[in-house]
Amino acid sequence: MTIEARNSPAPVRSYWGITWRRFRTHRLGMVGLCVVAVLFLVAFLSPILANEQPILCRFDGGFYYPAVVDLIHQVPGTSLIIKKQRPYRLATFDFKREFDPERGDWALWTPVRYGPREIAAEPLAGPSSRHWLGTDQSGRDVLSRMVHGTVVSMKVGFLSMGIAVILGLVLGCIAGYAGGAADLVISRFIEVVMCFPPFFLILAVLAWFPPSIENVMIVIGLTRWVGIARFARGEILRIRETDYALAARSLGVKPAQLVLRHLLPNALAPVLVSVTFGIAVSILIEAGLSWLGFGVQPPDASWGTILRSGYENLFTAGHMIPPACVAIFLAVLSFNLVGDTLRDVIDPRLQAERA
């Protein structure tokens, strides 16, 4: 720090503001963050990126926007308020067959004109100008399935870690702050869970629930909280002895408020790092489980199921394997990059070394 910098009144910045400023100086971390943002966008916009129904069209004299309605339906609860227009709502309605330019019909198609479940062409066809990544064993467009597989990966990554964070923070805080018998029981329980190889536990539990994406999320969340709980416990143990914790306590702040307002916010940074890595691991586990047949069930699309179709048709249709591999790799790499950068940024010891 230079002398001028020390003398000029520096604007007050929040902890997260400082962290973000430091984060921006790491090139690889920013690249990772951009890839994460793109994946997120692809997932959210998937209905207007790949859909068998158009974004906007004129059909038999009326205007329709079925893909946009699909997009709005991505937000939970909206399907109760906004419904798809009449013919598009029906499962039997096939716009592509009914489409008749002589009647004055026209359509603004999505970039990929095929839905993830639509049987669009010959099965196991290689990449072509119509199907950029080819088709799978049922004749569904692989690119469209990849786009919609992103939704599964992002959902699983974020929601399963959400479950893990809530569980881990609650149990970790109780163990760290209450100590005594509660700490003993929780720590022992954490140790028990850690002794199972994670994949074994997931398989054992999944054999119990019927395979579906929701159950995969819950199971991953239920098995991944231990690391977060251990982190949180350690941090709370450390912070509760600091002077400001003591000050808050002597002011008569109640335990619950002390933990939530004073201790937890200061314990969040390391937890955030492990959450970022956890998302990468969850995405990996979901794809692996779907590959094994325990996760997302056909005809729904996921990177893991696409990889599985490729594996089952190795000799005739290898074209499905590389795209799914690249997607999984990119997702894992970018979350790892973000996590690594975050760890560097918030570790004060490393900051001292860099300066």
């Binding site: 022992r188 002794c195 199972f196 074994f200 094994l292 594996y311 591999c325």
Partner: protein, 326 residues
């Protein structure tokens, strides 16, 4: 020291008991018991029901769960893991068969990891921040982010199918028995290449970084300065004084990761049709083969606990500053 060992043994036993209880109950809660799966093919409902009841009796599933658990523990104490519900073979024999394929790949992969990552780690530490250090660590980092089954799929697709260079199904080719001894060895070796690579490459980044980091910490110590001041050559300082002292955490790292490697990778073994522990576990779950699942869970937990315990003890042996008295 003795009281510490005793305390650890007791808590370890409690943890082990907890693990076995939890896995026993989870398994029992899974809908569809083995008797049901095995009788699902019988068309005649009455016969199916009779056989179902007989099987339940045979497997002891008709008794209450706590009684079943007590029976299981009673047998375990005398070293009996029971018989498989699926094919009636001894569980110990099934595990023994699957152990070698998994163990051999794990050992091979560990050896390769150490042989490759040790020189990389040492060299990177010596040339810290140099071109070699940065390019190798970036390259290894990318590799580290390739999930092993993703690499497995790509290797199978390109090396196995498209270019037809290496086999990727199982441990032996068809007609293995007719080959000469030399041919058999060559065949076996070929089958090991891809799966061993998949188990190894991800560890390279982790281990070389670990070795580099430890060496960097050791190099800052006073005794290294002393060694240099004595006029020892750089090679002797690094290899004899620094590297040997950075080995201790490495050994504990190996100890901590080994139980998980031993349990095998379900996906990789399934992908390569490898007859190891991971695949055995997967198949046992599908077949609801309770004794095999329980035995595998129990053995893994035992290994994790045992090795953590040994690692904690060796810390004390290696570093006299660590005290076990409370």
């Amino acid at each position: 020291m003795l009281s510490y060992i005793l305390r650890r043994l007791v808590t370890g036993l409690v943890t082990l008991l907890g693990i076995s209880v939890i896995s026993f109950f989870i398994i029992q809660l899974v809908p569809g018991d083995p008797a049901q799966i095995q009788t699902s093919q019988i068309a005649d409902a009455a016969v199916s029901e009779r056989v179902y009841q007989q099987l339940r009796e045979l497997y002891g599933l008709d008794k209450p769960i706590p009684v079943q658990y007590a029976n299981w523990v009673g047998k375990l104490v005398v070293g009996d893991l029971g018989s498989s519900f699926h094919d009636g073979r001894r569980v110990s024999a099934k595990i023994g068969e699957a152990l070698w394929p998994t163990l051999s790949v794990a050992l091979l992969s560990f050896m390769l990891t150490l042989i490759i990552s040790t020189p990389i780690g040492i060299y990177s530490a010596l040339r810290q921040g140099g071109g070699f250090d940065r390019s190798v660590s970036t390259g290894l980092y990318m590799l580290y982010s390739v999930p092993n089954y993703v690499a497995g799929m790509l290797l199978i697709l390109y090396l196995g199918v498209k270019w037809d260079l290496l086999p990727f199904r199982g441990m032996r080719s068809d007609g293995y028995d007719e080959m000469t001894t030399l041919g058999q060895m060559w065949d076996l070796a070929q089958h090991y290449v891809l799966i061993t690579f998949c188990f190894t490459f991800g560890n390279l980044a982790y281990y070389s970084r670990f070795i580099r980091q430890n060496l960097l910490e050791v190099v800052r110590q006073d005794y290294i300065r002393t060694a240099r001041a004595k006029g020892l050559g750089e090679q002797s300082v690094v290899l004899k004084h620094a590297f040997t002292n950075s080995l201790i955490p490495l050994i504990s790292l190996i100890g901590l990761t080994f139980p998980f490697v031993l349990s095998g990778s379900v996906i990789l073994e399934y992908m390569f049709n490898w007859p190891g522990l991971g695949r055995l576990y997967f198949e046992s779950v599908l077949q609801r083969d309770y004794p095999t699942i329980m035995a595998l869970n129990f053995i893994t937990a035992l290994l994790v606990l045992g090795i953590t315990f040994i690692a904690d003890l060796t810390y004390g042996l290696v570093d006299p500053r660590i005290s076990y008295e409370k």
